[in-house]
């Protein structure tokens, strides 16, 4: 099991198996799987608009997957990307709506993005502090913080920021909008894909470099693999816990900025649409590896938008089942590969 080709064999087989299984599920619902497949491909990668939609979805997913993946290397399981996205989104919307219109976009966008990152990082740090101070398990605290974020953002929206008789906040200032690729260069016409994608890719690469090319990453990996040995080696576990959670939360904040500044232009109830939870699956699918995670986000973005496109053929619920089955198969395959190596 040492040859790279052999290593690739198991995941490839598992993807084939997933395709067959999904085809069987579609057949069982009385639809022709080939037609569905064709429709998915045509509506996503088959058109510039579809490709743009996939890239836009992948951007948010990549940010929220990184929010899970960064702490994962310290053996921290951040279930809270959803809540971090929500507080990030509300911070982006409120700050961007209250910026003076005279500001240039070069100042306005970074300020709004910074607000989103700070909110996400702050929210995630609460879980880190609870863990360091009171040894509260981060899975439990981040789940609770998700509920709290949901409640707080709902309260803020409906009691303070919603425009009368709407479910969204005031539109953000024009100077804080991130122009789409379509507006900028005419790429992927009328789709919301925007330069946030560059930031997401840069963040993945940066995270890779941090993890494998810096002393900070050396300490992070050591702490995650052997906490006791790391502590003896003078590595401060509390400092790393706090930093990793904050970095993860900041990444979720960037995902929120993509949604608010790059697409909607305001904060709306339910706008994160569970992207924080899909981020967990996206991260796990790539075994939290900072480079594979880009492929995994693209794949999940494709399924996400492809599912919408075939809604008339395959019910949304069935498509969810298919996605989950695929993820389970791929994760089992990687686990199998690791055991055999």
């Amino acid at each position: 099991m040492n040859h790279p080709l052999q290593r690739a064999l198991v995941p490839t087989l598992s993807i084939l198996l997933a395709i067959l299984l999904n085809a069987a599920i579609i057949s069982a619902t009385g639809t022709d799987p080939l037609m569905v497949a064709e429709r998915i491909v045509r509506s996503t990668l088959g058109s510039p608009y579809g490709t743009g939609q996939v890239l836009f979805k992948a951007t948010t997913l990549l940010f929220s997957a990184l929010a899970v993946a960064i702490p994962f290397h310290l053996r921290l399981f951040n279930i809270g990307a959803e809540g971090q996205l929500q507080v990030g989104a509300i911070a982006a919307a409120i700050s961007a709506a209250s910026l003076p219109p005279s500001l240039t976009p070069w100042a306005a966008i970074p300020l709004a993005v910074l607000a989103a990152m700070t909110a996400g990082a702050g929210w995630a740090s609460i879980a880190a502090i609870l863990k360091i101070r009171f040894r509260v398990n981060e899975v439990i605290s981040t789940i609770m913080l998700n509920f709290i974020a949901q409640g707080v953002s709902g309260y803020l929206l409906f009691n303070h920021f919603a425009l009368p008789s709407t479910a969204h906040s005031a539109p953000i200032a024009e100077n804080a909008r991130i122009a789409s690729f379509s507006e900028l260069y005419g790429w992927f016409p009328s789709s919301p894909a925007n330069p946030s994608l560059y930031a997401a890719i840069a963040l993945s690469l940066g995270f890779w470099a941090l993890l494998y090319r810096t002393r900070h990453g050396f300490e992070m990996r050591a702490s995650g693999l052997q906490p006791l040995a790391a502590k003896r080696a003078g590595i401060n576990p509390a400092r790393h816990t706090l930093l990793a959670m904050a970095m993860g939360g900041a990444s979720a904040g960037l995902g929120a900025a993509n949604l608010v500044l790059g697409y909607k232009g305001y904060y709306e109830a339910g706008m994160t649409a569970g992207a924080g939870f899909s981020g967990i699956a996206t991260a796990l699918l790539a075994a939290a590896h900072p480079l594979w995670i880009m492929g995994s986000a693209l794949f999940m973005g494709l399924l996400d938008y492809g599912g919408l496109a075939v809604n008339s053929l395959v019910p949304k619920e069935i498509f969810q089942v298919m996605t989950a089955v695929t993820i389970l198969l791929v994760i089992s395959a990687t686990a199998l590969n690791r055991r055999n190596s």
Partner: protein
Amino acid sequence: MAAAVKIQNITRKFGTLTAVRNVSLTIEKGTVHAIVGENGAGKSTLTNIISGMLPPTGGELIIRGKPVRFTSPKDAAEEGIGMVHQHFMLAGELRVAENIMLGYEECRLFSPLNRKAVNNRIRECAEKYSLALNPDARVSNLSVGEAQRVEIMKLLLRNASIMILDEPTAVLTPMESTKLFTTLRTLAENGHTVLFISHKLDEVLSFADTISVMRKGEIVCTMPAAGATKEQLAGRMVERGVLLSVDNPPATPGAERLRVSNLCLADTRGAQKLRNLSLSIKAGEIYGIAGVEGNGQSELLQALSGMLQGQKGIKGSIQLEGRSLLELSPRQITDCGVGAVPQNRHTEAVITSFSVTDNLIFGRHREPSLHRGAGFSHKALQQLESRLIPDYGVLCQNPAKQQLGALSGGNQQKVVVAREMTRPDLKLLILAQPTRGVDIGAIETIHRKIIEARSRGVAILLISAELEELITLSTRIGCIYNGAISHEFTAKECELKRLEGVAFQKEIGLYIT
């Protein structure tokens, strides 16, 4: 009658490396068979093949006349083969009896264990094979020796008739080792077959029936233990000559470096682990601590390394050149010039899935000379590895790529020792079982390095279960018993008594029990 184990032309490769080369060996039923050899000779690999942990690349394995092909330890267990690993696989929170029956409950799921019947069987077995054990004790409270007995008992109740032990005595005190061998002898007399690996030639000579010597993946000879000598074995194991005991020129101690005064420590349950422990170490001397494990050594080590920082229940003081260490973090303590080889390599000293080079800098990664930008300087790392790896005789193909976990046990230990002993500006060196699992040739090297460091003026605290090692190296020896130093041998006494050998060991023995 067919032999218990017959190996024919077994080979095992790891990539391009041949760890076991075309080995053939016969182990007779009812004998105690020992395997000795240098670190990395292939001993663990060979026993792992017999116990089904590793499949061989080629060759045949014949158990009691029957050719077998194991794909897992479970297959081997079905043929009555059991292995006691160096790292025990016990559930700490469960009781002894529960651990022994784990996975072998003989009753339906969810119905309670028949505790009485189980306890009776354990007592019966304990009596027959002199395996003193309390079935109701919690495993987390056991000593290493007791935990090992639990492992052996587990195998016995699963009807293992062929027992394999990989360096079983590396972690035992001499007394516990003797107990273990009494058990193994009784087992052999009752028709069991025992195969064990050891680096301690004395015990191999006195307890084994047959001895095989491995070198570079091959068995170079197999001989009856009766009539063999230590020098003869050492000669077959290593090509160059080995000094079995290094020279220890008189020390010239300088000013006081470390002072531990009236250190008291209670654990979380309130049990007193250290009781007014006091000692002092000067620059340029080796202070040896003799004692049976569990008398406060690990607590003293933890306090010295900053692992107890901020913990309640500590009284007294630890001072390094007048600076108090108790309030400092592990990092601040290393920054004061303290290096340490911890007791438990795997959990405290290394990251097994990191490369050998990464492990050579692990804990030293804050040294500015290794840095370049936010990362590490390749050149500095290369210099470090090309200095330390040959110097300490670490057997390893590609240190920058190879995982530490793929090194043999003794070679992993050498990596830790090399890293800690070569810290720049070393003031105090704490060595806990520094030669655990290391072969006789490498022990000589490490002992020489320890004396060298002492002569350079480093203060050294040495904790070892090997009285011989303590006597050879120590300038002074403190006997630890029940959380305090119960007796101290002065430098003069140590120098004189060193020549007495076994008599001195016996005298020390009086103070530690």
